[in-house]
């Protein structure tokens, strides 16, 4: 097994590369009143609300997915019944940025 193996990046976002290369990356942050929301989850959903992946938010409220190219729904869950959604498109070699405000 490599170091990456199956473990999520600690806290959601720790990978420092700034280019997507062969990946279709979807990433972003969740903030509340300008402050990061560090307790919560980001979910990547496919067609028909199909669950694909989930990561805990990082200390900076960040999350990152390595998706297949195509259209996705991002859903954020946080304490207090917070449930937010945005539609996004992912492309190979491109980093799609998504920001959520609670």
């Amino acid at each position: 097994m490599s170091n990456d193996s199956c473990g999520a990046p600690a806290g959601g976002v720790t990978i420092t590369k700034d280019k997507a290369g062969k990946e279709a990356i979807v990433e972003g942050h969740v903030v509340s009143g300008g402050a990061p929301v560090s307790t919560g989850y980001a979910r990547l959903l496919g067609t028909g609300d199909e669950f694909v992946a989930e990561v805990p938010l990082g200390e900076d409220g960040g999350f990152r997915f390595f998706a297949a190219p195509g259209d996705w729904t991002l859903r954020v869950l946080a304490p207090g019944g917070v449930r937010l959604e945005q539609s996004v498109s992912a492309d190979i070699g491109h980093i799609t940025k998504v920001e959520f405000a609670v």
Binding site: G11, G12, I15, K22, L44, E50, E54, R64, F66
Partner: protein, 280 residues
């Protein structure tokens, strides 16, 4: 086995924080999650550092497991309550692992860390100190673990349940979407496997679906024959441990194995059959 034998809710766990004979253990995909706050009195097991052999691709051996549990202060008679993030993904893996080495009293916190957090229950950063024990493990239970030759022989004979995402099953991705794409030499799935993504067994809050919904999901929707033996696999055996938990522990199917070599092994073998495309 049934749901009430293997799952407990958060109120049950809260009432037993610090209780003698009960050890709460966090096992997370994100191995740093524990350090940011955990259920009070919980200890941590790192799925990679603690449970994987550092050199060979395999689990720690029986002596290694005994050493680990002894050092963490877990006794053979203790009730171990496991929980983690991501729908208990890695906690279910640890549950299977504990069963593999013969620990009898293991439970999962339904909903795991996510539901605990979303319910705004107490988290602590205090790391408990537990007195060392002298733990004795059993030999690995071969009825729970499938190896590659057994999997190849099962094609067309037993249920093969591929619990990865549809994109991984079809061969479009080699790893879950929140991880870098790497590992197996080839994409696709084992011929005759049914694709039931592991996460379909969980509600959005991380709790397991009802027995009726789970039966419908695997039996009616996916066409899995509950009268046959079953092998579940994913990429490295963690997600399929979650499905093993559902089929074997909640629904009570008698002969279910987890193929922990999974796609990283199978997809790199020379000469084995591979199918591409959507599920049939």
């Amino acid at each position: 086995m049934s749901r009430s034998d293997v799952l407990v809710d958060a109120d049950w766990v809260e009432a037993r924080i610090g209780a003698p004979g009960v050890v709460i253990v966090e096992v997370d995909e994100d191995t740093s999650a524990y350090d940011k706050g955990h259920i009070p009195s919980a200890i941590k097991i790192d799925w990679k550092k603690d449970l994987q052999d550092p050199v060979r691709r395999d689990f720690v051996d029986k002596v290694g497991f005994e050493t680990l549990l002894s050092e963490r202060g877990i006794s053979n008679d203790d009730t171990v309550v496991l929980y983690g993030g991501n729908n208990n993904w890695f906690a279910a893996y640890a549950y299977w692992y504990f069963k593999l080495y013969g620990h009898q009293n293991v439970l999962l916190l339904d909903g795991g860390r996510k539901k605990w957090e979303l319910d705004s229950r107490e988290l602590s950063t205090d790391v408990p100190s537990r007195a060392k024990t002298s733990y004795t493990a059993a030999e690995q239970d071969a009825a729970l673990r499938a190896k590659r030759d057994e999997v190849i022989d099962a094609i067309g004979k037993r249920n093969l349940v591929d619990v990865r995402s549809p994109d991984e099953f079809a061969g479009r991705l080699l790893a879950p979407a929140h991880l870098p794409q790497e590992q197996a030499q080839r994409g696709g799935h084992i011929p005759t496997a049914k694709n039931v993504p592991w996460s379909k067994a969980a509600n959005e809050d991380g709790t397991f679906k009802s027995e009726a919904d789970l039966t419908s999901l695997y039996k009616e929707e996916a066409g899995i024959d509950f009268g046959k033996d079953t092998i579940a696999y994913c990429r490295i055996g963690e997600r399929s441990a979650h499905t093993w938990f559902v089929l074997h522990e909640i629904l009570g199917l008698p002969n279910v194995k987890n193929y922990d070599g999974s796609w990283t092994e199978y997809g790199s073998l020379v000469g084995v059959p591979i199918e591409l495309g959507e599920g049939k």
